[in-house]
Amino acid sequence: MSWFKKKTYPDFWNKYLANFKSKQNKELDSIRFVVFDTETTGLDIKKDRILSIGTIAVFNGVIKVADNFECYVKQDLFNTETVKIHGLLKEGIHKKLIEREAVIQFLEHIENAVLVAHHAAFDVAMINQALKRLDLPKLKNKVLDTGHLFNKTKLDTSKLHFSLNHLSDRFNIPQHDRHTASGDAYITALLLVKLIALLKKRNSKLTLNDLLRSNNRIGLL
């Protein structure tokens, strides 16, 4: 990219980028993980939209309830007279943000954390599409996939993809608030700490690089 074509980005994006200037810590105990989940109108990355985002942070093996983010996104499609009333009612329960505001707050919250999600490729792609609509580049964060981490344990090699339901049962995680973004983020966070504990038992010097995807990636998408 030549210098005269260089785009100027809004302040919030520059602020987000600034988080990546310093070298990131590789010690697992000093990395801030932000476990997140998105609820969407469907599975088509291009057509469908984010309904809500829920996150919870994990630091030094501890799930930090205080370090969380939860938002609901206003839908353009719902912009009719009738849904207005419906939307107003709903607004009584959940504060709703327009997509741009949701993205700003999300970026402000995640900073340079390592993002974690179950089948992360989809959630990351949804966020990246939202960024694209704002004329912004993709997320810079490193991403961990709990589905992939489970594959690394080699506890069950019969399949490549295991659902969050399946793994919650397997790891004895109660399934409260399933299919709300925060609820799934919390379940995924518990799964993350359990998987890391398991992998640490086998490799006491476990680092972030051991957890990140290998290059020959076989994604869900």
Binding site: V62, I63, A66, E70, G183, Y186, A189, K201
Partner: protein, 630 residues
């Protein structure tokens, strides 16, 4: 909006002390919770390490608290149990290590945030105070029954404002240590406040003089500022008993300064000491005792006894030390009995023909009766001429009948075995009693030994105390001439071996009304009582009847065995509390326990008690060379 905090709220709200907070308060706490996942055998914290500013609640699994040196499991925390409360004291190191016994999830809660809400909530602070007060256990192993949570707590006297000493003894910054000590000595106080313009700056207590002066660290001519503790902890004048106690525990101090607006920058109004708190507590029971003295009928006394029962319930719920609770209840029972006797004598056509003494025997004599049980008593009257004996005895029998009847109205039911003073067998002159004891001691068959275990634990309640002392003397004279008696008593004490296989094969009753229940009295408490009686009698001591006191006395007399004796004392305290809790829960004597209903922690505690029984029985077997008899 925080879905996860809501979920944590849903969990915590079921358990005290969280159940005592408002929804808003608890939600604020939940929003700041950290969630720890612990694999089996991983440590959460280690003894000797500085405490963190958080305490813990078990969400899933079980956490064991271990003594670091011995790795002995002290306590097991189950779902909903809180531990690591030491954090609320802010300073110091963990005394125990916490390790996951199984895969566990633990919530940690910021102690600072929590304190904000707790100090303004009398119920929750009373609960926490009691969790501290349970000296060994750091957790409330027996969560309050949910239906009790709404119980009216307004009468908790912890809410009373604490009565502090007004006009506190104080001195200026320029005072020398020696001068301050002279002031304290003259005024007979244990503390002195150092003030400037009526503002409290520091405090010196007896302890400072001991640790800093008597040790030679600082000379007595230095200024008081050299040894004063500063700043002082201040509270406003309306501080409640619970707040004061929490403040003392938290700051590890024994004196609080009361200032005009509660801040350290306002005028000193008084001092509240730990001793003041003890006095407030005792006063509460002394109110009952005063009312006993004013009562004119057995029916009025019955109402007072019922109130004492409520006081007891509260003590048990708040984990007030069991020795304190027994003392208070024994005091109330004793004064009720004395009043009943007063009233009975007034009803008699003539005053007593000679001096007499009323005795409590058995568990009443040992002051170990917390719940209403049968009455067990006896009467001794002074020796009279042979010709007057029948007449005198029938007078006292009639008096005893009235007293027994009165006690029955109060709620002490008639003894089914007729061990009461209205029974001619237990209403005797001093010399008759001595003969009786001598007969039991020289012919120690099963029946006589059983009677010894009841009648040797007698406690003076009313009348001429000399008669009681002479009775005790009679016992020792008889024992001295029959050494072998103690061996028989020893054999009797070993009759009930401890149920060490408690967990594997439940040693429950195999038949009868209490089939499949555990007899805590016969299997755990009586062995400790019998052992204490035997050992204390072998020391020629009769003044101590209470089992806890007996073990303390024994530890003092035989320092080489004090570990065993203290273990027995602690075990007995625990069992007594346990039986009382069970009795209050099921509205019975608490003697038979359904093991299924016990929590893991309770089972563990019981098991520890049985170890003490085993140790003391081993000691007795060796000391009285009983293996040859067994």
């Amino acid at each position: 909006m925080n879905t996860i905090a809501e979920r944590i709220y849903d969990f915590l709200k079921a358990f005290p002390p969280f159940s005592m907070l408002t929804r808003e308060q608890l939600l604020e706490i939940c929003k700041a919770v950290d969630i720890h996942y612990l694999e089996k055998d991983t440590d959460l914290f280690i003894a000797g390490k500085p405490i963190k500013n958080q305490f813990y609640v078990v969400k899933d699994g079980a956490i064991g608290l271990f003594r670091e040196e011995t790795l002995a499991l002290v306590d097991e925390c189950d779902v909903g149990d809180i531990f690591g409360l030491r954090a609320l004291m802010r300073k110091g190191d963990y005394k125990l290590s916490a390790k996951a016994i199984e895969e566990s999830i633990v919530y940690s809660i910021s102690s600072e945030l929590f304190e904000d809400y707790i100090t303004t909530n009398p119920e929750a602070s009373a609960f926490l105070m009691s969790s501290f007060a349970a000296n060994i256990s750091y957790i409330e192993s027996n969560p309050l029954q949910p239906e009790n949570q709404t119980e009216n707590i307004q009468d908790f006297f912890e809410e009373q404002s604490a009565d502090y000493s007004k006009n506190p003894v104080h001195c200026s910054l320029k005072t020398s240590i020696k001068e301050a000590a002279l002031i304290m000595t003259n005024k007979r106080v244990g503390s002195i406040i150092i003030t400037e313009n009526k503002i409290p700056l520091g405090i010196i207590t007896d302890k400072d003089l001991r640790t800093k002066i008597a040790t030679g660290l600082i000379t007595i001519n230095e200024s008081v500022t050299k040894i004063m503790s500063s700043p002082v902890i201040t509270y406003p004048e309306n501080i409640t008993v619970a707040e004061a106690q929490i403040a003392m525990i938290k700051n590890r101090i024994t004196h609080l300064c009361i200032t005009k607006d509660g801040t350290p920058n306002s005028e000193l109004k008084g001092v509240l000491s730990e001793h003041d708190i003890v006095v407030i507590r005792e006063n509460n029971a002394s109110v009952l005792v005063k009312e006993v003295k004013r009562a004119n009928t057995a029916e009025q006394l019955q109402l007072i006894r019922e109130r004492a029962h409520q006081v007891l319930k509260r003590y048990i719920k708040q984990q007030i030390p069991i020795t304190f609770a027994t003392k208070i209840i024994a005091l109330v029972n004793e004064s009720i009995t004395q009043r009943i006797i007063d009233l009975a004598i007034a009803e008699m056509p003539a005053p007593p023909p000679t001096s007499f003494s009323w005795l409590a025997i058995g568990s009443q004599g040992r002051e170990e009766q917390l719940l209403l049980t049968d009455q067990d008593n006896a009467l001794v009257f002074n020796n009279v001429n042979k010709s007057d004996y029948i007449k005198t005895q029938s007078y006292f029998l009639e008096l005893a009948k009235k007293i027994n009847h009165g006690l029955n109205i109060v709620g002490f039911e008639f003894c089914p075995a007729d061990m009461m003073a209205s029974n001619p067998k237990w209403c005797l002159s001093l010399s008759q009693w001595k003969n009786q004891f001598n007969e039991w001691i020289t012919k120690p068959d099963q029946d006589h030994l059983m009677l010894c275990t009841i009648f040797f634990d007698f406690e003076y309640v009313y009348g001429d105390i000399n008669l009681v002392n002479l009775m005790a003397q009679g016992i020792f004279e008889s024992i001295d001439s029959r050494d072998i008696f103690l061996n028989y008593l020893g054999l009797n004490a070993l009759k009930n071996p401890p149920p060490l296989s408690f967990f594997r094969q439940f040693l429950v009753e195999h038949d009868g009304e209490h089939k499949d229940q555990f007899d805590i009295k016969a299997r755990a408490m009586m062995p400790l009582v019998d052992a204490a009686r035997l050992l204390i009698l072998s020391k020629n001591i009769k003044t101590q009847c209470n089992t806890i006191n007996r073990y303390e006395k024994l530890a003092e007399l035989e320092p080489q065995n004090k570990d065993v004796y203290f273990a027995c004392r602690n075990a007995f305290k625990k069992l007594l509390r346990f039986r009382t809790e069970q009795g209050l829960l099921h509205n019975d004597s608490g003697r038979f326990i359904d093991l299924q209903t016990l929590s893991k922690a309770n089972k563990l505690e019981l098991k520890n008690c049985f170890k003490a029984v085993k140790d003391i029985q081993d000691l007795i077997q060796t000391r009285f060379k009983l293996s040859q008899f067994l």
